[in-house]
Structures are given as C-alpha cells and as structure tokens.
Symmetry: C2
Subunit: 331 residues, 2 copies
C-alpha cells in the first residue's frame, strides 16, 4: 500500500451557519470519506474552530487515512474572506465572526496547510473544475437555499472584488417596492426566490384559505417543511404550490438575465438545496424567463444549467482549492 | 520641431448613434485637437466608415499634424465588439451593423493601426487611466444619457465577457412591474433613470397638469429639452423637476448598489450627459441610496464619483487603447 503513504489526499470543508461538512478527496477529486457536525456558533469562535478540526479528523478516519497523508485543507466560509491573509472578515450567520484568522488557527490544530475562501466562490470553483472540467472561463454560480448566494469565476479564477464581497447577488434589488428582505431593504433577489421566501408565500397563502396537499402531508403548521415536500406536492398535482414555485422560478430567471447582461458569463450554474429538490420543476421557466429578459446577443451560446454536485459542491471546491494551492507551494 | 515628426500621436474616436467625435492626443494624453461629424447611419455602413475617416483627418488637421505622425487609432463602438477580430458584432443604434470588420475597413482608409472596443468599456478605460491614474483594479462605469451603458475594468483590464456584451447594465431589471423599456421588458434600469425616462416622466407630468418652469423656458411642447435645462429649472426652484430628478437619482443609487453587491469594484464612476449636467444635484442622493442598499461590508472604502472627463471620456479612452496596443505591437 505504498500509495496511501503519499501525502496527496485533499480535504474540502464547507463551513455553514448550521452545519460543517468535510470530505476527503483523492488527487483526481474522488471523494473517499465525509463527515458532518453541527456548527454551534453560539459557543464562540474557538469552539467552532475545534469542531472544524474534529470534522476534518472524522472524515480522514472515515477514509482510513491519517492526517500525515493530507496535503492540504480548503475551506469555504459563509462571508467575506481575505484569501491571502486567510481571515474571515465577517460572516453574518456565524456569531461574533469578525477578522477571524481561520487559516492560522486551523493550521495550528491540524498541522497541514489550510486555505480559506468564500463559500459560494469555493462551491462554484468545485463545479467549474470537477463538473465543467475547467472549460468555461467565466462562470456565475447561483445557490438558492435559505438565502441566495453567488460565486464568480472570472478569467478562470474565483473573483471576490475589492472588499472580498463580490457575488452578493442575493441582495441585488429586482423589485424596488417588493417584499421586505432580512437585510432591511425591499425586493432583494432572496426576498423573492429563496426557500425562506417560498415558504413564507406558502404559509401566507394557507392563512388566506388556499388549499394545499402540504397541510395533509405535514399538518396545518407545516412543521419540518422542506424543499423536497414542494416537489412531492407538485408531482401529486398541487396547483397552489406549483404556482408559487413557478413564480420563484420566474424571479430566478430575471436574476439570471440580470447577471448575464452585467457580467456576460459563458455558463450560469444553479445550485443549492432548492435547486437540488426542484431543478426539474424550475429549470424550464428559469431558462425561458432569462431568454425573454436578456439583451439580444448576450445569451448566444450561454449555458444555464443545474449543478449535479448538490451539497457536495462546497467540499469538492475545497479540495480543488487545496490541490491547486498545495501544488503552487510545492512547485 | 523634430518632435512633431515622431509618430507618437494617438487618436481616440467615439462612434455614437447620432455623432462621431474624434480627438488627437499626445503620448501623455493631452488633447490637442478634436472634430465632430454626424453619424448618419441610415446612409449605410460604408458611408459611416468614410465619415469616421473624415472625422479623424479633420482632428489631425485641427492639431496641425499629418496622418504620418499618428501611431494608432482607438475607437469605441456602441454595441458588442470582438476586440481581437476588430469587428462590431452588432450595434442596435447603427442601422444594419452586424459583423462589420471596422478595424480592417478603417485601417485600409487611414493607413494606421486601428483598435476597436465597446464604447462604454473604452470610456471607462479612459477614466481609469487618465482620471484615476490606473490606481483602482476593478472599476464599474455607469454612463447615463439617452440610455444607460456600463463599462467594466476587472483586474486592470476592460472586461467584455463571453459574447463581448458584459456591462449591459441598462437592461438590468430593477422593478419587475415597472415602466416599459425600449427593449420590450419592464422596469429596466434605463427605463427608470435615463434621460429618455426622465423626459417622459416630465412630459407625462405636464399632461397631468403639473406646473414647471420648463414650459416657460422652452414652450409647451418642450422643444429642444436638454439635461442642462433640468439643472437650470431646479436651480430656479422648480420642485416638480427636482422631484423627478431625485427619483431618477434614487434608481441610479439602487443600480450602483446592485453592481457593488454583485461585482465588488474599488470605484464606481458615473458619467454621460445626464451626470455631466446634473452631478451636483444627483450625486448626494445616489451615494446615500447606494449606501442604504449595499450589504454591510461591501461599501467599505468604495468610491462613488462623477467623472470629470464628460463627453471626452470616449475619445480619451480611445487614445489610451491606441497607446497601449501600439506599444505592445512595437515592443
């Protein structure tokens, strides 16, 4: 087993507001072990760093390896990240995270090189390299979940802009007098088309007397409503849920065309929990609406596709980052 | 006068839907002669190319030079441009312009190297190099005139994306059910805040019985209404015009914050005829609205400034392009 002594295994970590995912990858980006722990950011920054450390070691153990065989760790954090400094500048969904030297702290605990990027940028990097085989030069990633996040690949590289905040597409205003967003403004993309927005519209509709299979499936309070339940209800003929999901898909289509008009990417990739559950239902409307709204000439040859990586986009992108950076260090 | 025999003078050309501007520049980007002719695109592509040729020669004559002393011509065209091929892929405001080999055709007429770029990209290149001294790496240019155009500098270079159409910010939807745009959609940025949109709102208001000094100044039909007239009316206390201009400034502020959220530039530059006439009136509202709408952290240290180059941004950028490309050819 000479091979397993080589230090060319890579770890990708997806640090989220509620959970931490980690995955061990071979140099050819095959995933050979994963682990998951809850984030518990209310316990403080040090506790979260220790939980990341544990999650990484759990995945390594799962893959029957030791940390000595790991070349590097790439981690995506949910906020503004200074890649060169290895710090998380701020992360609204992690309590108290401001200027956290995550690279330094984790390297001390893990004893291997650590590279930190924004979570959406790392996810789109994973999609670009592992799924699209690095062919497109300019890629926009739209991740529709609790909120809506965006990741940009420009000229083949993750792009994060001046304050490391590029890709905050969830707060692009699409409807000046639209519904209130968590950020305090009105009509943001994520106030119109995120899972949170879709669920609010469903609950408001039920209050107004709309009939839906969801209350049969889950009870009147819609406890534990998940994106997958929407798919089930639509497939069983629920017109009310279909209409709300259709409306969200139209807004996503407008968001896509705005981004195509402004950035002019080769490919737009849609990911995140909502897309994973509802791609079949939403993609035709997203593509049609984007085509209706994009300027002539801007859409020619541009692909609008759902990612197949699903929840693994983040950990895959982490491994891609770790592979690239470990290589550039050793060469 | 040995100096004037050197072939290091540069020409910038701004090809617009209604007029062609040209300027002769020294190597240090001082403008020493300009010329202007109408475009008359209804006469056909060849006629326009001949008019560009004449406009360039007029400016050279104005500067007491000959074409032999010109190192190169940089020209901005109003549409999608393939810089490497030197072709205008399409230009909605120039009749019949589709895949026009402008570089080749003009080089044949002028006998000097010609470089073609999108007009908004060339204008923001002019601002970036001549006005901002190439300091910012990522710049978004917003040009508010008859329509709203955008130019992007990414990592120090003009960025035009996959179909050479990046920066079509005028058709970014800001209000899904907003006023109809010339492009057929509703609520586009330029349907809310361009000169065309402002003038339409003023004319509609007058029809509805609003009182304004503009009818005193220009007659009931508002013949020859120009952006400068709005400034005059506001300064003389016209509340109706002030309100409409204020509303346009708010939409521009939302457009600015969308672009900051998505792209994360170091600097946002506002130019074009409307900004040239009304920067003092509009900038405070634009900046305030942008700050209110941008996500926390995205605005830190980001400058939002009006360009001082005004109408000269395009010809200056053309000279910058010609200087850079002539250098890279001769080195």
């Amino acid at each position: 087993m000479a091979d397993t002594n080589r230090t060319d295994f890579l770890i990708g970590v997806d640090l989220g507001g509620t959970k931490i995912l980690s995955g061990v990858f071979t140099n050819s980006l095959e995933c050979i072990g994963t682990a998951k722990v809850s984030t518990k950011s209310q316990r403080g920054i040090d506790a979260v760093v220790t939980r990341i450390d544990r999650c990484v070691r759990d995945a390594v153990d799962e893959a029957d390896l030791s940390m000595k065989q790991v070349a590097g760790v790439g981690i995506g954090a949910p906020g503004a990240v200074d890649f060169n400094a290895g710090t998380v500048i701020f992360a609204p969904n992690l309590e108290g995270w401001k200027d956290v030297p995550l690279k330094k702290d984790l390297e001390k605990q893990l004893g291997v090189p650590v590279f930190v990027e924004n979570d959406a940028n790392i996810a789109i990097l994973g999609v670009q390299v592992a799924e699209l085989k690095s062919k497109p030069k300019n890629v926009v990633g739209i991740f529709v979940g609790t909120g809506i996040g965006g990741g940009l690949i420009i000229n083949g590289e993750p792009f994060s802009g001046f304050n490391h905040t590029a890709g905050e597409i969830g707060h692009m205003v699409l409807e000046v007098n639209g519904p209130k967003c968590g950020c305090g403004n009105k009509g943001c993309f994520e106030a119109l088309a995120s899972r949170t927005a879709i669920f609010q519209q469903i609950k408001a509709g039920i209050k107004d007397g709309e009939k839906t299979l969801l209350t049969e499936m889950l009870g009147d309070g819609l406890e534990d409503l998940r994106s997958g339940d929407l798919r089930k209800a639509i497939r069983r003929g629920d017109k009310f849920v279909a209409r709300i999901v259709e409306s969200a898909a139209e807004y996503i289509g407008i968001g896509v065309s705005n981004l195509i008009n402004v950035i002019g990417p080769d490919v737009v990739v849609l990911g995140g929990g909502v897309m994973e559950a509802l791609a079949d239902e939403m993609m035709p409307t997203i593509i049609k609406t984007a085509k209706d709204h994009a300027m002539p000439g801007t859409m020619k040859g541009v692909e609008i596709i759902p990612s197949k990586l699903g929840d693994s986009a983040g950990i895959t992108g982490g491994a891609v980052l770790a592979r690239r950076e470990s290589k550039s260090k050793s060469s």
